[in-house]
């Protein structure tokens, strides 16, 4: 079986299921279907299959080592035939013309995403086999029961067509069968959630990855203390974060090591490099599931009653969903490319099957449907684009907390994930970062540069080492991650004027954040300020001026260093407060699931209302996103969708 395509791609029917997208959603659907046996499955992946062997995965690691800026896509080369969004492309968008309500006529086109503002959409993703799980953090929090009833309980957003209890068994399967989650149900502390009804007797397949030293320092300083936000009181409680990261197994669970080298990555080694790349593959990526499929269900052998046949074709960009006059999908047209020259020699083919599944990310599922004129009788395709917009706070602690040891994050503060306040402002989650000022200020590089290149008394040699030794171990940050609610006015669309070199429409994005979310940022900042004060960190008076102060005095401590600059791309205001928000890489909501074909794109079975042989999977189906990183929920939904597809196939044959 060849992940690189290898010769002519399929150009004829015969597949039971054709899946567009070789990320976690597509891999999950393929694995669940393949396990039933006897299926012929095709996965089309727009990007390359670079990570599919241990030595080639290593080339991603090398690219990361060579990159001065450790952004999520640093290890994953830009591919002009399957371009991807990149956080380094984000610019401040020109405000709309004075008095006008329409977006600016001059969108920002400097990156791959065409951005019309008013705010930039700040998340990126990876187009390569394995998808964005190549650089996800691995956080595997489930959504809370109340997240599914946001409209009924709090009057915002929408309700899901089903509740937590329906999804719960699929969460368990996602955690054990697909991702492999390390955690302990006893260490989960969510507002208003009882362990018995939330988890039952279930336990995660692996023991928790030990909390970082920083977590213990914060617990000592904050645990059990009361803070007051918006007149309501909250008790600070640390909650260990379940993660798709290998740890000591429970029972006879088999720990899955690296794809292509299963002896490697059997345990997290604490490289603190989950984003952009786990060098040992202790963190789950969809490559593991795809690798398992290639071995257990090889595409070059016919299926048997117990074995399926899964073919992965990479470098195959889906360009159209082909429909017949009855609205039935007849094929997926795709362009297969080889090298990256311009113009690119490329071949157009069509993949045919019984059932089709779009498993690209929320942006590319939407653009493919829009370019095809498919699934959009509701007019909702591309709308309700969501993310978890986050603001950072950061400081220098009184004592060393030794970041950069262990995973990027091992604990969070979950007490703002639900409560009566959700009538007034959005819920949020506080992620404790274990990587110093890397996210907030590109440390350690920037810290060293500031000391070495200082205009006044720059440091070198022993003094440099001493100051680095004082400053770096005291760095820490919190990420305050907002629940963004669905709005039709936040959308991705296509526009014939903007295309990539294969002629595929580029995503055109309109994005803004409502006061409901901005008020959440203000509340979160209020919470952060009180916690910093409890830790003895007060706001830094004006930052020392490098022209006036020797380098050795540029980083006084303990202080809260949080500062938001109006010139940052993510600068926004709420009342008289300014914040800088970032994207979380949690693209969601562009083809939402719902009870009505007038307001949603897929039905509760995740099948398109408009096409009875077209399923959509991925975060695009999520009606709301709650405050949990969406990959786990999306995987649970994908398992559910795959079982529905299996049932449909049974009814057809």
């Amino acid at each position: 079986v060849s992940a690189d395509g290898g010769g002519a791609g399929p150009d004829e029917g015969g597949y039971d299921v054709v899946i567009v997208g070789g990320g976690i959603a597509g891999a999950t659907v393929a694995k669940v279907l393949a396990a039933h046996g006897g299926r012929r499955i095709l996965i089309l992946e727009a990007g390359r299959a670079t990570g599919m062997s241990a030595d080639k995965y290593r080339s991603h690691v090398e690219a990361d080592l060579a990159s001065p800026t450790k952004v999520p896509n640093a290890p994953y080369a830009f591919n002009p035939n399957a371009p991807q969004a990149d956080v380094l492309d984000i610019r401040q968008i020109e405000p709309p013309p004075q008095g006008g309500v329409a977006p600016s006529t001059e969108p920002d086109t400097s990156g791959y995403l065409v951005q019309t503002g008013p705010l930039p959409f700040q998340s990126d993703y990876t187009r390569a086999l394995g998808g964005t799980t190549l650089h996800w953090l691995g956080t595997c929090l489930r959504m809370l029961p109340n997240d599914f009833k946001l409209r009924t309980l709090y009057g915002h957003g929408v309700d899901w067509p089903f509740g937590y209890d329906v999804l719960r068994p699929y969460y368990e399967r996602a955690e054990t069968e697909i991702i492999g989650v390390a955690g302990s149900t006893d260490d989960q502390h969510y507002p208003g959630v009882k362990k018995r009804s939330y988890f039952g007797s279930y336990e995660y397949p692996m023991h928790s990855v030990p909390p970082s030293y920083l977590d213990s320092v914060l617990d000592r300083g904050l645990g059990g203390h009361r803070i007051t936000v918006g007149g309501r009181h909250y008790t600070v409680e640390m909650s260990n974060t379940p993660a798709g990261r290998n740890s000591t197994p429970r029972g006879d669970y088999t720990v899955m090591g690296a794809a292509g080298n299963p002896q490697q990555g059997q345990r997290c080694e604490g490289n603190t490099n989950c984003i952009p790349i786990c060098p040992v593959q202790a963190k789950y990526s969809a490559l593991k599931t795809l690798y398992e499929l290639m071995i257990l269900h090889p595409g070059d052998r016919p299926p048997t009653p117990t074995r399926s046949s899964v073919t992965v074709v990479s470098q195959a960009v889906a360009t159209a969903v082909e429909l017949d006059e009855h609205g039935t999908v007849r094929g997926i047209r795709y362009t297969e490319y080889e090298d990256e020259a311009t113009p690119t020699p490329a071949t157009t083919r069509t993949a045919r099957g019984t059932i089709y599944v779009l498993a690209a990310n929320a942006i590319h599922n939407a653009t493919l449907l829009l370019a095809s004129g498919a699934a959009n009788s509701s007019g909702m395709v591309g709308r309700n684009l969501m993310d978890h917009p986050l603001i950072l706070t950061w400081g220098l602690m009184a004592e060393p907390v030794y970041g950069f040891r262990g995973p990027l994050s091992t604990s969070g503060l979950e007490m703002f994930r639900d409560g009566a306040f959700r009538s007034d402002h959005c819920a949020f989650r506080i992620e404790i970062g274990n990587e110093g000022w890397n996210f907030s200020a590109n440390a350690p590089t920037s810290t060293v540069d500031a000391l070495v290149d200082a205009p006044t008394a720059p440091l070198f040699g022993r003094d440099l080492r001493r100051v680095i030794g004082e400053v770096m171990p005291r760095q820490f940050r919190l990420a305050l991650e907002m629940e963004q609610i669905p709005q039709a006015s936040n959308y991705v669309t296509v526009d014939g004027r903007y295309r990539d070199q294969l002629g595929v429409p580029r995503p055109v994005i309109r994005y803004d954040l409502p006061d409901y979310v901005r008020a959440g940022m203000a509340a979160a900042k209020q919470a952060s300020d009180q916690m910093y004060a409890l830790l003895g960190l007060h706001p830094l008076p004006p930052r020392p001026d490098p022209d006036a102060v020797p380098a050795a005095e540029l980083f006084p401590y303990p202080f809260d260093y949080t500062a938001y600059r109006e010139t940052d791309p993510g600068y926004l205001t709420y009342g008289d407060q300014g914040f800088v928000f970032q994207g979380a890489g949690h693209l969601a909501g562009t083809h939402v699931m719902g009870d009505s074909p007038r307001t949603s794109v897929v039905d509760p079975r995740q099948r398109c209302w408009d096409h009875d042989n077209l399923y959509l999977v991925g975060c695009g189906n999520m009606p709301t996103v709650g405050t949990s990183n969406p990959t786990l929920t999306m995987t649970a939904l994908a398992i559910m969708a795959a079982e529905n597809i299996h049932a449909d196939l049974g009814n057809r044959s």
């Binding site: 899955m256 299963p262 002896q263 059997q266 071995i295």
Partner: protein, 380 residues
């Protein structure tokens, strides 16, 4: 030629030697592994790593068996044999004269030849006709066969029962082993002892001597004994994803010849599969069998001594885990990472006496008591 093991004490001594033997191989493999320049020779790195992880498993399995029959694994010399279970390099292994002296050497064809000699199922040279028989075991496999034979005869259920009582809490389990093939089984009875010893031999040499000349006929079956003759290079470990492992000997043979075995080939045959790319030049020129004493009075002496201290702490932690403190193994993992970085730093440092040769960790558990290492600033 050896006399059979006749007493439990003798059996325990053999098992302590087994623990020592497994430990002896680990530094020699690590030394070659760490000498490979970062990013180079990925196939060789993966292969040596896979072997060294299994040697760690074998050491723990041997300790489990010794604990199970009431022995206490210890770093103290075995008085009767004058043998220390923690060797000094170059090292010799008692009772198995077929194993050559074991050196610490960088990754070279010669080093891999040594690895092959260590893991070889049968002695390289057949004794000349009429030659006086050598005293001792002909291979690691023969040595373990003798242990297994003795356990079958001597380790009655009462022995295991007494062992479980005297050495309660000393069995390491699969929680404490990962990354390699095979399973760390707790040994509580004869059946588990057989499984532990089989794992050691199967993964190491991979097969009994008679299989070397067997035809590649029968396909692999669930019955290990029946299929061992037919599916030679496979050691029957199945890793996640269905990955099948070859014996150490077969793995090193692939490295030495630069080719993979094809499935179904005999170990004795020349591998005829895919190429294994080996870049013998991308290797740090670390010296052979370095010692801290050899660097005394130079700027690098401290670093050499520190590396030895780390190694000693690892060995002590591992033995503590054999002695009822399994969590010590987790502490040892931190030290193993520390030793790796110390080793690589030394291997990047030219030797003061011969700059063409680089330093390396001496793995000197029995470091001569020298002058105290100066702490803090400086060091030369």
């Amino acid at each position: 030629v050896t006399a059979p093991i006749t007493t439990l004490t003798d059996l325990r001594n053999h098992l302590q030697i087994a623990i020592g033997l497994e430990l002896t191989t680990i530094p020699t493999y690590l030394y070659a592994l760490y000498s490979i320049e970062e990013g180079a020779n990925t196939a060789a790195v993966e292969l040596i790593e896979s072997v060294v992880l299994e040697e760690m498993l074998h050491m723990a399995l041997a300790a489990n068996v010794l604990n199970a029959i009431g022995g206490r694994p210890s770093t103290r010399p075995i008085a009767k044999l004058g043998y220390s279970p923690v060797p000094t390099y170059p090292a010799t292994v008692p009772l198995i004269p077929a194993i050559p002296r074991i050196h610490l050497a960088p990754f070279t064809p010669k080093a891999v030849d040594l690895f092959l000699d260590i893991e070889r199922p049968v002695p390289r040279k057949a004794p000349r006709a009429g030659a006086k028989p050598t005293v001792g075991y002909g291979s690691i496999g023969e040595f373990y066969d003798a242990i297994r034979d003795a356990i079958e005869r001597l380790a009655k259920p009462a022995v295991f029962a007494r062992g479980a009582e005297r050495r309660a809490g000393c069995q390491l389990t699969s929680d404490q082993y990962y990354g390699g093939a095979g399973k760390l089984v707790a040994v509580t009875d004869l059946e588990a002892a057989r499984e532990a010893l089989d794992t050691i031999v199967r993964e190491g040499e991979g097969l009994p001597e008679r299989a070397l000349s067997a035809p590649p006929s029968a396909p692999a079956t669930a019955d290990k004994e029946a299929s061992v003759l037919g599916f030679e290079v496979d050691d029957f470990d199945v890793l996640p994803y269905g990955w099948r492992m070859y014996s150490h000997y077969a793995r090193f043979r692939e490295l030495r010849t630069g080719r993979r075995y094809r499935p179904g080939q005999l170990v004795s045959q020349q591998p005829k599969g895919d190429l294994v790319l080996v870049d013998w030049a991308s290797v740090l020129p670390a010296g052979v069998d370095p010692t801290a004493a050899g660097c005394e009075g130079t700027a690098v002496h401290t670093a050499m001594v520190e590396a030895n201290r780390t190694y000693r702490a690892i060995v002590d932690a591992v033995y503590a885990s054999f002695d009822g403190r399994p969590e010590a193994l987790g502490e040892a993992v931190h030290l193993m990472f520390a030793l790796k970085y110390q080793a690589i730093a030394l291997m990047r440092t030219p030797s003061p006496s011969d700059p063409a040769t680089h330093l390396g960790p001496g793995f000197e558990y029995h470091q001569p008591a020298g002058p105290a290492v100066r702490r803090g600033r400086g060091g030369g």
